[in-house]
């Protein structure tokens, strides 16, 4: 089991990866929309800390942190963002469609709520095959607007599947608040589907999140019933792109100040040796991307059907 220090270093590594992405984005090395995880690294690290390699994770287009937290290949990550043939998806997925089957990071989607049924199906197959693998599906509170969210949770509960739904609740679907979209209260409503529900407000510390998730995973494995988990979240950057957007009207800098005051990654003390290792890992991954070839015309037609 990882210590709090190790979890913090892992989260700090992910933040530094994305801060480097922010730096290089204006160079046009990465030519695609980006949905940064900055501010939410502790959720990803906490959710993945107690998962084995065989356990499977499905997420959304805001997936950089989960890809890295699940153990996804870092050079292949940068190469993918840069559209190179050495990318984890051979340059066909990019930021919004990351996957690394080696570590059972099972796929991400740019359509809100669309990976929930995949997680339900994957868990059903696990149950039918009698293996002990856990499936985790991560999505935002906006997903609960969609019918397929309800269809998926209902069926997972009905079929008694070993599966954990994780709602990253930042109260926002792009720029609109839950109060503009939902007439129900998320957790009360989820509970009505007959699964166990859990909610955590202060998610800034990855150790707190990982302890919270660990007991839920143990419960799901022993009961073979799904769980629903709400993790409060706060994204530091704009919905899409690398900038900040506290001055455009839909949220305030005060909210950010209140949340980030509890962010242990801000001002985290990292030893010189550790920082040097992080710098070197990130730089070599970026260099790998830059020096990798672009896909060819032959690659365009590969893996269609």
């Amino acid at each position: 089991m990882k210590s709090r220090e190790e979890l913090l270093i892992h989260a700090a590594f992910i933040r530094q990866v994305e801060e480097r992405i922010v730096e290089i984005y204006p160079t046009d090395l990465i030519q695609s929309p980006l949905h940064l995880s900055i501010g939410q690294e502790s959720l990803a690290v906490g959710v993945c800390a107690h998962l084995s390699k065989q356990d499977q994770v499905f997420t959304t287009y805001r997936s950089h942190a989960y890809y890295l937290a699940k153990g996804g290949n870092v050079p292949a990550f940068f190469a993918e963002l840069m559209g190179r043939s050495t990318g984890c998806c051979k340059g066909k997925g990019g930021s919004m469609h990351l996957a690394d089957s080696e570590v059972n990071f099972m796929g991400t989607s740019a359509i809100v709520a669309s990976t929930l049924p995949h997680a339900v199906g994957a868990a059903y197959a696990n149950k039918l095959k009698g293996n002990d693998n856990l499936v985790v599906c991560v999505f935002g509170d906006g997903a609960a607007d969609a019918g397929i969210y309800h269809e998926s949770i209902n069926f997972a509960s009905l079929m008694k599947l070993p599966l954990v739904f994780v709602v990253e609740d930042n109260d926002l679907a792009v720029h609109s608040r839950k109060s503009e979209r939902q007439a129900f209260e998320l957790e009360i409503h989820a509970k009505s589907y007959g699964l166990s529900t859990h909610s955590l407000e202060n998610t800034q510390d990855p150790k707190v999140v990982s302890d919270f998730m660990n007991s839920i995973y143990a419960d799901v494995k022993s009961t073979q019933r799904p769980a629903w988990v709400r993790l409060r979240a706060f994204r530091y950057r704009e919905h899409v792109g690398t900038g900040e957007d506290f001055d455009v009207g839909y949220r305030s800098r005060d909210e950010f100040a209140e949340w980030s005051a509890k962010d242990p990654l801000i001002g985290l003390e990292i030893s010189e040796a550790e920082q040097a290792r992080i710098n070197s890992e990130i730089q070599s991954a970026i260099d790998f991307g830059i020096s990798s070839p672009f896909p060819t015309l032959e690659d365009l037609y590969l893996d269609v059907i």
Binding site: P117, A119, G121, I148, E151, F155, I305
Partner: protein
């Protein structure tokens, strides 16, 4: 290839049931799902008894949640299952469009081949007996437009056996099969020696001819064969009839060489004309060499309206053997003073008395 015992004569529905039974018994990872999959009607007899035989955890009665169940199927296939999903009407698949088009069809490609989602989605196309606007659509063009899906339209029991057994054994891609409801109760002879399990979804010549090529889909192959008989008997016109089998992956060489030989083309499809199968075949011919055509192309299909429910309007809505003969004669420059009965479709398929 692993194949089951094949009967010498079978209905279309019974051939499907044999294939479903084979899928379940030959591969413990196969699962069936759909609304009504395990009830007493068993999807018009194509899944009857399978829930009792293989258990409700492999024959999964589905909630009325087509989009979720499609994504669920994709999820099961990521972990090694082979899902076969049935929409008792093809119209219901439109509820699942997001999962089919945005996810299932792209899951292999957009992750660079890391995953090979597989599965078969059976969709039943309704016609006659008041199916109306939401029970009679035939969406081959819509799905064939999307890369990443194999779309097939078997018109006979042989075509069902060849294609389904092949796909069930292969189990490595998404196949959508459009099954025409009016084919279900028709009895077909099966020439077991003729069955081709190596390359089943190829287009094939069902009738050799020399004067005009009729390219047809699904039940329109039977209508084209009837039209060809009439044309030969009454006018001495020899029609070559090609079954497309797959609308997403037609054998373009076969179609082009037939049209090169006859110089004339009629397309007989089960759906609307605009942006349809006829348009696609016209593109194939015109991009390769339009000079092979000695006359303008004609396409027969549904009128450009929703399907009306009442019989009088419905008869005007669908192409009939009369429409096909009339179109063929027009292409061949013949006067059409002797035509088959336009309503004969109803008589020919009179075994179908609904209700569904």
């Amino acid at each position: 290839m692993n194949i089951p015992n094949i009967p010498e004569e079978t209905t279309y529905a019974s051939a499907i049931l044999d294939c479903m039974n084979f899928a379940m018994s030959s591969n413990p990872s196969s699962v069936l799902m759909g609304q009504g999959i395990g009830d007493h009607k068993g999807i018009f007899g194509t899944t009857t008894g399978l829930a009792e035989k293989f258990g409700s955890n492999r024959v999964i009665e589905s909630p009325i949640a087509e989009e979720m169940m499609t994504g669920f199927g994709l999820g099961t296939s990521l972990n090694g299952l082979y899902p076969i999903m049935t929409h008792i009407r093809a119209d219901f698949s439109f509820v699942a469009m997001n999962q089919i088009v945005n996810l299932y069809a792209k899951y292999r490609y957009m992750f660079g081949g890391q995953f090979h989602p597989s599965g078969m989605i059976r969709m039943i196309v309704g016609r006659s007996w008041g199916q109306g606007a939401q029970h009679a659509q035939s969406p081959q063009s819509i799905f064939s437009h999307i890369p990443g899906i194999k779309v097939i339209m078997p018109f006979s029991a042989e075509a069902v056996l060849e294609n389904y057994l092949y796909e069930i054994n292969r189990a490595d891609r998404l196949v959508i099969s459009l099954e025409h409801r009016n084919l279900y109760d028709i009895n077909f002879k099966v020439d077991r020696k003729k069955l081709d399990f190596e390359n089943p979804a190829r287009s094939r010549v069902e009738l050799l001819g020399s004067d005009i090529t009729i390219v047809a889909t699904s039940i329109m192959v039977l209508e084209a064969l009837r039209a060809a008989t009439f044309l030969l008997e009454r006018y001495g016109i020899s029609a070559e009839v090609i079954d497309m089998t797959s609308t997403s992956h037609p054998d373009t060489d076969l179609i082009f060489s037939s049209v090169s030989k006859t110089g004339k083309l009629l397309v007989a499809d089960t759906s609307w004309l605009q942006y349809g199968v006829g348009s696609e075949i016209s593109r194939i011919i015109c991009e390769r060499d339009p000079s092979v055509l000695k006359a303008p192309i004609k396409v027969a299909g549904m009128e450009n309206t929703p399907c009306p429910t009442g019989k009088t309007l419905e008869d005007m809505f669908y192409p009939s053997v009369r429409t096909l003969v009339q179109s063929a004669l027009s292409i061949c420059g013949e006067q059409s003073n002797d035509l088959p009965d336009g309503e004969s479709y109803r008589d020919y398929y009179r075994k179908f008395k609904g209700p569904f």
